[in-house]
């Protein structure tokens, strides 16, 4: 729906201050970036800092670690299926490398594992490619312009964004392997936006000191995902994809090595055993846990399953105490609520503006700082814009981009969002967007090394499910990078491990048995089960009428 009269009136204020803000930009005058001290002050308004929002884990390898309730709930839960009921003496599938997750990280891992001689199975919860990768819009960082940039600056920017707490070896690998990742994608036919001579177009993102954000119009992630998925489909004789088949438990063997997984057929509700020489965990993030009740930009399947499986098998979780709220999620119109508005809008010069038409923060601060500033502006300073349904938002002044870069730029550079809003009767090249922070990224995850190895032999990690690369806060453009760099590394490491180090032995789910006992001992009710697999949006009034006693009679 178009903006109602009340909001149209408020837009006039944005318009009245726009010429001055555009002029300032053209003179290269920035609203000053916050000092590190000032950043810390504003960050107290970030949801991560709400004590009542989190608790210490009661069981498992990271016992005592304080994380969000929603996350703790799934990590502490029981298995979905009683381990003893699974017959591990025979298996339904056997492969060299099992990859759990069919997004960008899993698919990159599959390609590299295959290139290193492995037969591969990708098990994925929904369809191959249904993943947050597909939704990432803004871009992918890499220091590809040697006259002004290098892994040195990329490293510094990543550390600064992550509050200097990131794992240095992971950041080093990320920065060093970034250009090669872009080159690999280019060779597979990924259409990055380029100048006619082939030079890649790059822009700034929040927290970058150099313009190193590469992009493919405003569907960078989709372009990358569909390209590598297409390539995986070319290698169908070596890469088998099992869709609608989420993993619900890792399988170990008698030597304590990871040796497969239990898959669940979402449609027939059967469980299947996959025996593998190596397993790559690439299940992505967890926005669908709706931490602290926030809306999310995430994919339907982003429920943190991989964290649960590996945690039960003894892999610690790190940096999970921080969650990334993307500063700019749609808050009006309501049908599009939670949908991400790429940071590229701000990279292209669009200001964040309050109800009085004032810019209150530089639009290129790191994401946590931007999000906290927006929440502060709305909640503490009461300068948010009220929506017709009583929520608060902040203006993202997209028409500025037209004034800065010429008429038609918004439609050309942001075709996806331009069309989306047009359907609602809003022309974002003329009217600003109303936004509010939205749950976006799981900064932390499973502990792993720069080679993709975890503490559990035979288990490798790639992508959002891993923790440490981004420290306490990820910069824009480093997640698409992370999945490609570490996806490729994990795929190769897993294939080499399968070839050279794997030791066969009797399959076992003892670790899950033990964990369930630990959970019971900690007083966790047996009807708390994980992984969640899919969120539940059933209306409570419908739920009240769903009274079937489970598994009695001929129909469930």
């Amino acid at each position: 729906m178009p903006y109602p009269e009340e909001l149209k009136r408020l837009i006039k204020k944005v318009e009245s201050t726009r010429p001055e803000r555009v002029a300032r930009k053209k003179r290269n005058e920035e609203v000053p970036f916050l000092s590190l001290d000032d950043r810390e002050k504003v960050l107290q308004y970030h949801p991560d800092f709400r004590e009542e929002g989190r608790r210490a884990l009661n069981i498992g390898p990271s016992k005592g670690y304080k994380i969000a309730h929603e996350m703790a709930d799934i990590l502490e839960a029981h298995s979905r299926v009683k381990p003893a009921q699974i017959d591990l003496t025979k298996w339904d599938y056997e492969t060299d490398v099992l990859i759990i997750g069919g997004g960008g990280a899993g698919t990159s891992a599959a390609l590299l594992a295959q290139e290193n001689g492995a037969k591969v199975i990708i098990a994925t919860k929904l369809r191959h490619g249904d993943a947050n990768t597909m939704m990432a819009e803004g871009g992918i960082q890499a220091a590809t312009k040697g006259h002004k940039d290098s892994p040195y600056f990329h490293y510094l920017d990543v550390m600064g964004g992550g509050h200097f707490k990131n794992v240095p070896e992971l950041v080093e690998t990320l920065a060093n392997k970034a250009p090669d990742a872009i080159m690999w994608l280019e060779s597979l036919g990924c259409n990055f936006s380029k100048y006619p001579d082939g030079t890649l177009k790059t822009i700034h993102g929040g927290g970058t000191s150099r313009k190193r954000m590469h992009y493919a119009a405003d569907i960078t992630g989709a372009e990358m995902m569909r390209t590598i998925r297409d390539e995986a489909r070319n290698r169908v004789s070596d890469i088998q994809v099992l869709e609608f088949a989420p993993a619900v438990e890792l399988i170990l063997n008698e030597h304590g090595r990871c040796a497969g997984a239990v898959l669940y057929n979402l449609e027939t509700e059967e469980y299947f055993v996959v025996k593998a020489k190596a397993v790559v965990m690439a299940t992505g993030g967890s926005g669908r846990l709706h931490m602290q009740g926030f809306m999310t930009t995430n994919h339907y399947g982003a429920t943190g399953d991989g964290l649960v499986l590996a945690y039960r098998a003894g892999v610690p979780v790190v940096f999970l105490h921080t969650v990334q709220y993307h500063p700019t999620g749609i808050v009006f119109p309501e049908q599009a609520e939670g949908i991400l508005i790429t940071e590229k809008f701000r990279g292209s010069g669009a200001n964040l503006v309050n109800i009085d038409g004032e810019q209150f923060v530089n639009e290129r601060e790191p994401r946590d700082v931007e999000a906290a500033s927006i929440i502060k502006e709305c909640v503490v300073k009461s300068k948010g814009i009220p929506t017709p349904t009583g929520k608060l938002g902040i203006w993202l002044d997209s028409p500025m981009i037209e004034d800065l870069a010429g008429a038609g730029t918004v439609e050309r550079e942001f075709p996806g969002k331009y069309i989306l809003y047009k359907r609602f009767g809003i022309d974002i090249s003329k009217e600003p967007m109303l936004i509010y922070p939205t749950l976006h990224y799981q900064n932390g995850g499973l502990e792993f090394k720069a080679t993709g190895h975890t503490g559990l032999p035979g288990l490798f990690v790639a992508g959002e499910v891993g923790g440490g690369i981004h420290g306490e806060n990820r910069l824009m453009g480093n997640s698409l990078l992370d999945i490609i760099v570490f996806g490729r590394i994990a795929g190769k490491s897993a294939a080499l491990y399968a070839k050279n180090e794997f030791k066969d032995g009797k399959l076992s789910l003892e670790h899950a048995e033990r964990y369930n006992k630990e959970a019971s001992a900690a007083g966790i009710a047996e009807d708390k089960v994980a992984p969640m697999i899919l969120p539940d949006y059933t209306d409570p009034r419908v739920r009240e009428r769903q009274l079937t006693t489970h598994y009695v009679g001929t129909l469930r």
Binding site: N132, M159, G416, L420
Partner: protein
Amino acid sequence: MSTLDEGVAKTEIAAKLIPIYVMGKKYEVPESLTIMKAIEYAGYKYIRGCGCRGGVCGACSTVYRKPNDYKIYTGLACQTVVEPDMYLTQIPFYPAIRATYNFYELEGRPEEIYELYPELFRCVACNNCTKVCPMDVEVMDYISALKRGDIAAAAKISFDCIQCGLCASRCMGELAQYHMAQLARRVYGAYLTPRADHLKTVVANIEAGRFDLGVKSLKAMNQEQLKQAYQAREMEPATAGEDWKPKESIGL
């Protein structure tokens, strides 16, 4: 400070209820919901037919009709708002053949695409594909471009394709258009546009270890030193052109 949950579970619906027909069966749903949220409101739980919930993954293509109107309408369930008396069904999957090929052996010639997808020439330009595309891609136009060997045009016209498969479901010539478009885009990206020279240079320099010392020096810093280096780094101005260079060559 929490805003709003996904779905409608935790929202009080004050909006007017309207009737919609899900696969022929009537449900009353709030008029402001998207088809996806309305189906969930009605009591369905998605396994298929739902993916990113943000209009880019192509999982939730939906076909519907309105009373007294012969037209077939389509949309993504996650992006389309319900209308009174709409009859809808989702088409979460539609079979489509896809050729396999060794991408690295292609040269970017139109004939390669003709050989992999000879059925391309079964197109009679009926335009059903374009009419049914929920992303407003001019599907028939990119197929026309491919038929005349214009891979670049096909790549550009098809760029917003989300591979939902609705085009294939309505094609008189039984084409799977979106797989052809995917091939065209990859061929265009890899073989018909120049590769980035600066990229090759940087990758070679990294492999030669040119930046190792610089990054090692950063790794060796304690947090205070690192903070200083971070705050001292020179920022490329927002409006700088491609040829901008930092004042100092540190780290380069």
